[in-house]
Amino acid sequence: MELQDYWLQYKLEWGWVEYGTILLVVAFILYNIVRAGRGKGVTIRRIPGLDQIDEAVGRATEVGRPILMVPGLGVLDGITVQAITIFSSIVRTAVRFGTPIRLLNYDGAVYAVAQEIVRDVYLSEGVPEQFDPDSVRFVSDRQFAFAAGVAGVIQREKVAATFFMGAFYAESIIMAENANMVGAIQVAATTQFIQTPFFIATCDYVLLGDEFYAASAYLGRQPVLLGSLVGADWAKMVFVMFVLIAAIAHSFEARTPVPADERQDLGFADGQIYKDRPQLFFGKMTKASRF
């Protein structure tokens, strides 16, 4: 098959909506970055979890115990990079207060990058001699061995504050509950949103959803980064409009009788003519009502 035939078929079968949408979102973000770069003021709301970083580090300084940072179980991807960016800001505060730090890693590559970034922070603060290479550690790349290692550090060193940020899975509650046992102030953020409830139950402050991605922009207060947040918000508004239009269209469709010959294929019950089943308020999902 020739290339142009392929493009034609691809277009017919898959459409360009998905690419068009992504290009639109990218355009929003780039436009707002440029706009913010020109000095158009952009403000974003407060994020309590990030405002607490100074307080948590200060408390750790008072009691003379270390702060603990864990960038999650991810490999060196965007999520982990974002976590380490936030940590570099936390480390900067810790260096100013003279608080010891622990940064525990699950992945060799993340460890290597984290080590360099923490060293850079000490260097840029003018105290490279205070950097302890053992403060950034590789623990294990097995999920539960890692959880056990982190829990061990928490319990032995009685850390005063913990920052869990990145991709966390089942080990989240093991680490956070251990930190709760030793009375640490905890700030957490995860992109694995099914773990968010566990963090909410155990931590003092939790960044929800995309607040995590806003964190570096929020902490750095760079207008260019804030512009990208505004661009993403524009995209959200467009999606909300999509959803509203689709919901109205779907409601009309649901109240339009389905032709008799199609009902059998859709798995309709006897006497059912609509796609939804109005006699049940808490309608059960059937094959027919799902799509």
Binding site: A170, Q192, I194, M285, T286, R290
Partner: protein, 297 residues
């Protein structure tokens, strides 16, 4: 005892209940779970529509159809995944549906899956399933994203890296769309890659741990999942449906095993959850009583 002492003793009780040492909770949990693992209580089941959707789909396949089973669980989640996997294997073997086993989450997953498959293949009703004839083990693929992409692009080429493309199981499979289903038995986020890459080539069924259910229900509601089997309850659902289709009251099926891990783990789970509910209620009652006592005085 004077009135004041009584009030004091009462408030001390509520104070203790409000901030119970966590070790007491742990002890009670250990006792309850250990007891019920050894002495399960059998309860009737109400099968979830999500599990039923997958069961009905698989049960309706023809003899000789081929499905892909991606087994991504290991011993850490055997409480939930093992029951699901066992019931799935029983159904496939009884219906003579051929299957290919792959894994992307853990290099140990194929071994654990093989152990279960081999023991179930010996059971009555399993049609004496033979490896490389009725099912084939493709094994572990280290880069999940790549693997799924290659499976969707060219299934034979991808499975050729494990030398199984000419196995009798693969007869007539030239593209992923020739497989009747992709079933992901998983304890990690492996299914997300399939949502992104599948390009509608085959229906997906998911058997996941309970904690992952919330994340995946939107995909079931949207029709991207053919069926969704959730946690230990899902395993029990599958077993219940097996027992409905192959009842032991029927002499033909009297030697079949329908219930195993799924039902066994149901009662410890149920009572552990009840303990959770009770402890939450107790903590709240204590808080309420203390607050009322505070208002009174």
């Amino acid at each position: 005892m004077t009135n004041a002492e009584e009030t004091k003793a009462e408030s001390r009780f509520w104070l203790t209940l409000q901030a119970l040492d966590r070790r007491w909770l742990y002890l009670i949990l250990v006792l309850i779970v250990s007891w019920l693992v050894l002495q399960p209580i059998e309860a009737p089941n109400v099968v979830s529509t999500r599990s039923e959707a997958l069961y009905d789909y698989l049960s309706g396949l023809d003899e000789g159809d081929v499905v892909l089973v991606e087994s991504n669980w290991t011993n850490s989640t055997r409480g939930e995944s093992r029951g699901q996997f066992q019931a799935l294997m029983r159904l496939l073997m009884r219906k003579k549906i051929k299957f290919v086993i792959t894994a992307i989450a853990d290099p140990q997953a194929p071994n654990i899956a093989r152990e279960v498959i081999e023991s179930i293949a010996k059971e009555p009703g399993s049609n004496n399933y033979q490896e490389n004839v009725d099912w084939v083990m493709a094994g572990y693929f280290p880069n999940g994203e790549n693997h799924v992409m290659s499976m969707v692009n060219d299934v034979r080429k991808e499975l050729a890296t494990k030398g199984i493309e000419d196995s009798p199981v693969m007869e007539g499979i030239n593209d992923l769309s020739d497989m009747k289903a992709i079933i992901n038995v998983t304890a990690s986020a492996t299914i997300l890659i399939w949502y992104e890459r599948i390009r509608n080539k085959a229906p997906i069924g998911l058997m996941c741990t309970a904690v992952m259910s919330a994340e995946n229900i939107p995909y079931f509601v949207a029709g991207q999942l053919e069926g969704l089997v959730i946690g230990a309850k899902g395993g029990f659902d599958f077993e219940t449906l097996l027992a409905e289709e192959f009842p032991d009251t029927n002499p033909e099926f009297s030697e079949y095993t329908n219930f195993e891990s799924g039902r066994r783990y149901m009662s410890p789970l149920a009572f552990a959850l009840m303990l959770l509910v009770l402890s939450v209620v107790a903590g709240n009652v204590a808080m309420y009583m203390l607050r009322r006592g505070g208002e009174r005085s």
